[in-house]
């Protein structure tokens, strides 16, 4: 979003602005309309209208077949007294926090590792990115195979190497499954965030490391006083993507657990899916959808605010 502000403000209009009403002005306007309207139409129909529509639906009661009724704030007050929704919020929050805690250090370490110059590291980096090519459906099914209790890959270790702690009901245990999901999601997304950190590391001027060297900085000091502060916008970018991403995370959880066992992994997006598409309560599901969107946007704005708006693009260099 900072890229946004820079794009908007960086340069003057390339086209000298013609007088209002002149033929040239009409040509430019026509060209703008021709160039932009396909995107705007598609975008308006499938993004802008749905956003407005979602807010509208949250004040109605509707199951697509019957008539649409205006119910005012009934859905919203239901949300505030619905233990299911509160639990879903809590699970979502856990997923966000644990994902951030697991992914951030790993991604940073790996990003700095693949920013190194040795040849083998770029080979490693190429392989690190493989999870990003797999569809989330593919990743879910692959892990289902690895984790399946009797014939899965981990179960084999537990039987043949006597590592009995590996024989767990990984995807069906109320105390464990959420963490398993966090690990699988980390497996999928750490490489992507490592890519962001790699780009961030490569924008740090070598002079800073030179200076630290001359000052006789130690291992920890160089990391603490050079690398980490220089990476702060990268950390913000990556954290924002982790937080917003895991707030709305759906695919892998839907495929692997459907929210179970019980409701221990039923995150907000899954609760919304169940409410909307299984119970066809589109009004109430829209409340959950709006909450999801508002949370995501709020977190993004908060993080940008907390760290300085206009400077964000430095953390993005090399990414876009």
């Amino acid at each position: 979003m900072a890229t946004v502000s820079t794009v908007l403000n960086r340069e003057r209009a390339p086209v000298p602005v013609p007088k209002p009403g002149s033929p040239r002005r009409r040509v430019l306007l026509l060209a703008d309309i021709v160039g932009l309207s396909p995107t705007l139409l598609l975008y308006g129909l499938f993004i802008v209208v749905p956003v407005v529509f979602a807010v509208f639906l949250s004040f109605t009661s509707w199951n697509v077949i019957g008539t649409l009724r205006w119910v005012g704030f009934a859905n919203w007050s239901r949300f505030f007294s619905d233990p299911g929704a509160h639990h879903a919020l809590l699970v979502t929050l856990e997923l966000v926090v644990f994902s951030w805690l697991v992914e951030t250090p790993l991604a940073m370490a790996l990003g700095l590792f693949i920013a190194g110059t040795q040849r083998y590291r770029s080979v490693y980096a190429a392989i690190y990115l493989l999870p990003l090519l797999l569809s989330t459906a593919g990743i879910a099914l692959m892990w289902e195979g690895v984790l399946s209790p009797e014939f899965g890959g981990l179960a084999w270790f537990s039987f043949h190497l006597k590592l009995s702690f590996l024989n767990q009901n990984w995807l069906g245990s109320p105390n464990l499954t959420l963490y398993v999901l966090v690990v699988i999601i980390a497996w999928q997304f750490v490489p992507f965030h490592a890519l962001i950190y790699q780009a961030g590391r490569r924008t740090i001027p070598n002079e800073l490391y030179e200076a630290a060297r001359i000052d006789g900085a130690t291992l920890a000091q160089t990391f603490r006083y050079v690398t980490l502060p220089q990476l702060r916008y990268t950390v913000v970018t990556s954290s924002m993507l982790i937080v917003v991403g895991s707030l709305t995370y759906f695919d892998i959880i839907f495929i692997l657990t459907q929210g179970g066992p019980g409701d221990t992994t039923r995150v907000l997006s899954l609760y919304m899916y169940d409410t909307g598409f299984l119970q066809t309560e589109f009004g109430y599901a829209s409340v959950l959808a709006v909450v999801l969107a508002v949370l995501g946007i709020a977190v993004a704005l908060l993080l940008i605010r907390a760290t300085g708006f206009g400077k964000m693009d430095s953390g993005r260099e090399g990414i876009s």
């Binding site: 390339p14 430019l28 749905p50 083998y120 569809s135 920890a220």
Partner: protein, 313 residues
Amino acid sequence: MSSTSLTPPAPEAVASRPAAARVARAHGGRTGRAGAPGASRVARLIAFVLGTVWLVIVLLPIYYMALASFRTQGQYLTGNPWLPVGGLSLSSYSTVFSATGLGTDFRNSAVLTLASIVIVVLFSLGAAYRIVRRGSRFAAVSFRVILFGLAVPVQAIIIPIFIIVVKMHLYDTLIAVILAASASLIAVAVLLMVNYVRAIPRELFDAMTVDGAGEWTLFTRLVWPMARPVLAVVSIFAGLGAWNNFLIPLILTQSNSNSVLPVGLYEVASTSQYGIDVPVVMAAVMLSVLPLVLLYFGLRRQFVQGLGGLAIR
């Protein structure tokens, strides 16, 4: 379009003093930046070991899946899941095509992906060109509207999208999936394109305008040819997004004839007939990722930038 991530950093200055060696060690061990002359061998070794551990973590499940896919159900249940002993077979791959109906899903996914790429690339380049030219206020306002959508997660608007698609009588059609998937990708594509088109020197626009070129000629003779590299990047970004999309086709389609790969994989795995036949599921996943892996090793640079497009979503 910065290419920082693709250019190797300047070689580290030669470190010869003890303090320098310590710093270099710091990079090797703590920040993983070994490789500087004088960096301690221990630090480089630690970085190598930790990097290799992650490599193994990445590859192990993929290896497990690959091995399982080359087995029959019987071999899978009795054999060692981690070593290629106890018999291998290609029968799961033929089952994927003969019995699961995934052949149709492959075709649908290919159509979805190609159509989405064409729509996203053409629409976003046209839009980016006008946004960068900024010939009228309309362009500036449009850009702000498009950017607003970067913050909207698809999950939050999937219900209205579903209703709109039903009302347009497009439910359970590939067209609906193509349009919705393209719409969900286009904001990022526009931003990538704008960043790139913006970098075309203004002098080129001016020179062509002086020569009498109109807006359309500028687009076809200047912007389109100059934008070739970013077209590949946006194509990969859009292609990955469309090929791997799960939620949109899950909600917007129903019948087998309109099913796409990720949803088809999920259905194959969750129906009772194949739910227990892990090798068939693994073979299907392998086949679904194969085209991407081949493309990836051919076009790594563009892939890395295309994947980076996800960062501004």
